[in-house]
C-alpha cells in the first residue's frame, strides 16, 4: 500500500468545503492560518484579461520527505502506507520540519503546542476502513482522488495512466505524491496556470521515480500507533 492523491485542480470552484470538512473531521485548530489543506488563489492575466488560478493543496506526503530527516525525536515519521505522520506527543516544537518542508504544509497547533499537518485522514477515516479523505468525500466537483499507487488496478493509477500530471517543486527531489492533473483537452489553458518550465509527467515516466524513492525509504516506514 502506498497512498497518494490526484487533484483535478481545474475543477476547483473555491467553495472551501474541503477546508471546512478537514477541520470538522479532524478537529483542526480554528484560524485562517491553521490549515491542513487549503485552496490557493493566484491572480494572473493573459493579454490584459485577469483570471484566478485555483490550486487546492496540502501535505504532499513525499516519499523522500526532508521533514522526517530533521526531526530530533521521531515525531515526524514515515508510516505504513507511505503516509508522512506526526506524533504530537513527541513534538518538542523545534520547528525544523516546518523549515524543511518546501510546501509550507505544516503549522503549529496551539491547542497541543505541537506541529500539525495533513495525515490523509488516517486517524479519523482510513483506520476505520474508509477509502476516502474528508476533503475528497465532501468535494462537489470531485477534485481529489485518494488511492494506492502500488496497485495498478486502483482507480488512482487508472486515472494517472489516462491523464498527464505534474508535481510541485520537483527540483527539491522530495518525490511528492500529490498529482495535479492537466485538463484532458486544454493543455494550453492549463499551462498558463503553471510555470512554463514545469515538467509534465505520464504515469510511465513518473513510476520509476516513485519506485526508486520507495526502495530508499521503505525500511523507515513504521506502524502507526494511535
Amino acid at each position: 500500500m502506498n497512498y497518494a492523491m490526484s487533484l483535478d485542480y481545474q475543477s476547483c470552484i473555491d467553495c472551501k468545503a474541503c477546508e471546512v470538512a478537514c477541520k470538522e473531521e479532524n478537529g483542526v485548530q480554528l484560524g485562517a492560518d491553521k490549515q491542513r489543506i487549503w485552496v490557493t488563489q493566484i491572480e494572473k492575466s493573459i493579454f490584459g484579461q485577469p483570471f484566478v488560478a485555483l490550486h487546492p493543496s496540502q501535505c504532499n506526503h513525499c516519499l523522500d520527505a526532508p521533514c522526517v530527516d530533521v526531526c530530533p525525536t521521531g515525531s515526524s515519521y514515515f508510516a505504513e502506507g507511505g503516509i508522512v505522520m506526526t506524533d504530537k506527543d513527541l513534538c518538542i516544537l523545534c520547528k525544523g520540519c516546518m523549515e524543511a518542508c518546501p510546501y509550507d504544509a505544516r503549522f503549529v497547533d496551539d491547542t497541543h503546542v505541537a506541529v500539525d499537518k495533513c495525515s490523509f485522514c488516517y486517524e479519523t477515516r482510513l483506520v476505520h476502513g474508509e477509502v476516502t479523505t474528508a476533503c475528497q468525500a465532501t468535494c462537489p466537483t470531485k477534485v481529489r482522488l485518494l488511492g494506492d499507487i502500488d496497485d495498478e488496478e486502483s482507480d488512482l493509477v487508472k486515472m494517472l495512466k489516462e491523464r498527464k500530471f505534474y508535481v510541485l517543486k520537483e527540483e527539491e527531489k522530495t518525490v511528492p505524491k500529490l498529482f495535479y492533473l492537466l485538463p484532458e483537452h486544454d493543455d494550453y489553458y492549463a499551462m498558463n496556470s503553471v510555470d512554463p518550465s514545469t515538467t509534465i509527467y505520464t504515469w510511465d515516466t513518473f513510476k520509476p521515480i516513485v519506485e526508486k524513492a520507495k526502495a530508499k525509504r521503505k525500511p523507515q516506514w513504521k506502524k502507526i500507533i494511535l
Binding site: 480554528l30 493566484i42 530530533p72 518538542i92 518546501p102
Partner: protein
C-alpha cells in the same frame, strides 16, 4: 577576602550583601528580570492563550471561552509561531551565543596548547565568559522549544538528525570546559596540566564537530536555499564566530584586564578574521540561490546587509588596519564587530525564510490566510516576549561570570591576588 580550602580548591567567602549589591550583579539582575518577564509572557502565549478546534466549536456552542478563542483565531495574531517563518530571533541568539562562546573557548584552548604566554593569566576568565555564552544560548533555545516534551530527545533519539546531535555534543563539551577551568585554577599540579592538555585536544575536536553539526542542521532544510547554497557553511560559522569571539575577548581585556598588549594582540587577530569574513561574503554570493541573493543584496534586506558589512567588516578594517595606538579605536572596532556579526546571523536566519515557500506552482505567490495580503518577502517582527528573552540572556552571561569571579576569582584581576 577570607578563603576556604575544600578538596584543595580555593573558594572565596562572599557575603550576601556583596552578592546582592555588586555592580555587575545588579546589571545581571536587571537583565535577568527582563528575561523573566519574557519567559512569563512566552508561557502565557504558548500555554494559556485560548485556542479552539472545530470539535470545541461543535461540542460547546455558546461557551464563552470557545467564543473568545474563535475571536482570537480570526482577529488575533494567529498564534506565537508564524507558519511562513518558524525560526526567528531565538535561533539568531542561540547561534550567536553558542558559536561565539565556543569560539572563545576554542581560541583559549589553542593558546593553552601552544603556550601563548599572554593568555595564561586571563584564560580562566575567558573560558568562564565563553561558558556563560554557551548557557545563554542554551537558555534561549530551551525557551524556543516546548520544554514539556524535551525529554523525548533522550527517550526517542534520532541519531541522524543534526538537531539531536547537538544534545550529546553539549553534554560532553560543557563538563569538559568546566573541568578545564578547574584545572587552570589549580595550575600547580603537573599531572593536572597533562590532563588539561588532553582536554584541550578533545575540546578542539568538539569545536569542529559543533560547527559541522550546526551547518548540517541548516543544510538539511532543503527548501531554504539561502542556507543550503551558502558554500562551505561551517567555514562561514567559524570565520564569523572567531571575529566576534576575538572582539568580545578584546572588550573583556579592555574592561577587566586593562592590558593594552593583550587587547592589541586580540584585535590583530580579529582583523584577520574580519578580512576573511569580508572575502567569504563576497565569494559566497556568487553561489547563493539567485532568488534569495536578490532579496538580500538588492531587495528588502539590502540596507540590513550593507549595515552588517559596514559594522562587521568595513569599520573594524579601517580602525584596525593601520595599527593605531588609540585604545578607543580598538574599543569601537570591538563593539562594531560584536553588533555587526549579530546582525549577520540575523540576516542569515531571517533571510533563509525571506523567500516565500508559497510560490509552489511557479505562477506567483499565494496567500496563506484569507485575511492576509500576498507577500513577496517574508518578514515578521518577533513578539516582545522573544525580544525580552534574547536581551535578558545577557544577564545569564554576566551572572555566571560574576558568580565564578566572586567565588573562584576567575578573572585576571582576582588571579593577581
Amino acid at each position: 577576602m577570607e578563603k576556604n580550602h575544600p578538596i584543595n580548591f580555593h573558594i572565596n567567602s562572599v557575603g550576601i550583601k556583596t552578592f546582592l549589591t555588586d555592580k555587575m550583579m545588579i546589571i545581571a539582575y536587571l537583565f535577568l528580570a527582563l528575561a523573566a518577564f519574557g519567559v512569563i509572557e512566552m508561557i502565557y502565549e504558548r500555554y494559556f492563550l485560548l485556542s479552539a478546534t472545530a470539535f470545541d466549536a461543535g461540542l460547546n456552542p455558546g461557551n464563552r471561552d470557545v467564543a473568545n478563542a474563535m475571536k482570537e483565531a480570526v482577529f488575533g495574531h494567529g498564534g506565537e509561531v508564524k507558519r511562513e517563518a518558524p525560526w526567528s530571533l531565538y535561533i539568531v541568539n542561540y547561534m550567536y551565543m553558542i558559536y561565539v562562546g565556543s569560539g572563545i573557548i576554542f581560541l583559549v584552548a589553542m593558546a593553552e596548547l601552544f603556550e601563548v604566554e599572554i593568555i595564561v593569566k586571563p584564560a580562566a576568565g575567558f573560558l568562564t565568559l565563553g561558558l556563560g555564552m554557551l548557557f545563554a544560548g542554551l537558555f534561549t533555545i530551551m525557551m524556543d522549544l516546548n520544554v514539556l516534551n524535551v525529554y523525548w530527545m533522550i527517550l526517542s533519539p534520532q541519531f541522524g538528525s543534526g538537531m539531536w546531535l547537538m544534545m550529546p555534543l553539549y553534554m560532553v563539551y560543557i563538563p569538559l570546559v568546566i573541568l578545564e577551568i578547574y584545572l587552570i585554577l589549580n595550575h600547580q599540579k603537573e599531572w593536572i596540566k597533562k590532563v588539561a592538555f588532553m582536554i584541550i585536544v578533545v575540546g578542539v575536536l568538539v569545536e569542529f564537530v559543533e560547527f559541522y553539526v550546526q551547518a548540517k542542521l541548516f543544510d538539511m532544510n532543503s527548501a531554504r536555499h539561502l542556507w543550503t547554497t551558502y558554500p562551505i557553511l561551517p567555514l562561514y560559522f567559524m570565520v564569523s564566530s572567531f571575529a566576534a569571539s576575538l572582539a568580545i575577548m578584546g572588550l573583556y581585556s579592555y574592561l577587566m584586564c586593562k592590558s593594552a598588549l593583550l587587547m592589541h594582540t586580540l584585535e590583530r587577530g580579529a582583523l584577520y578574521f574580519v578580512l576573511a569574513l569580508g572575502a567569504y561574503e563576497a565569494i559566497a554570493y556568487l553561489f547563493i540561490d539567485r532568488k534569495w541573493a536578490e532579496i538580500i543584496l538588492f531587495g528588502d534586506f539590502k540596507y540590513y546587509f550593507y549595515l552588517y558589512i559596514l559594522l562587521a567588516v568595513i569599520i573594524p578594517f579601517i580602525l584596525l588596519f593601520k595599527d593605531y595606538l588609540n585604545k578607543y579605536f580598538k574599543l569601537i572596532a570591538s563593539l562594531s564587530i560584536i553588533v555587526g556579526t549579530f546582525l549577520g546571523k540575523a540576516i542569515f536566519v531571517y533571510g533563509g525564510n525571506a523567500y516565500p515557500m508559497s510560490d509552489r506552482f511557479g505562477a506567483g505567490f499565494e496567500k496563506y490566510g484569507e485575511y492576509e495580503e500576498v507577500k513577496e518577502v517574508i518578514f515578521f517582527m518577533p513578539p516582545w516576549s522573544e525580544i525580552a528573552i534574547v536581551i535578558g540572556s545577557l544577564g545569564i552571561i554576566l551572572f555566571i561570570f560574576r558568580v565564578a569571579d566572586l567565588f573562584f576569582g576567575v578573572s585576571v584581576v582576582e588571579e593577581k591576588n
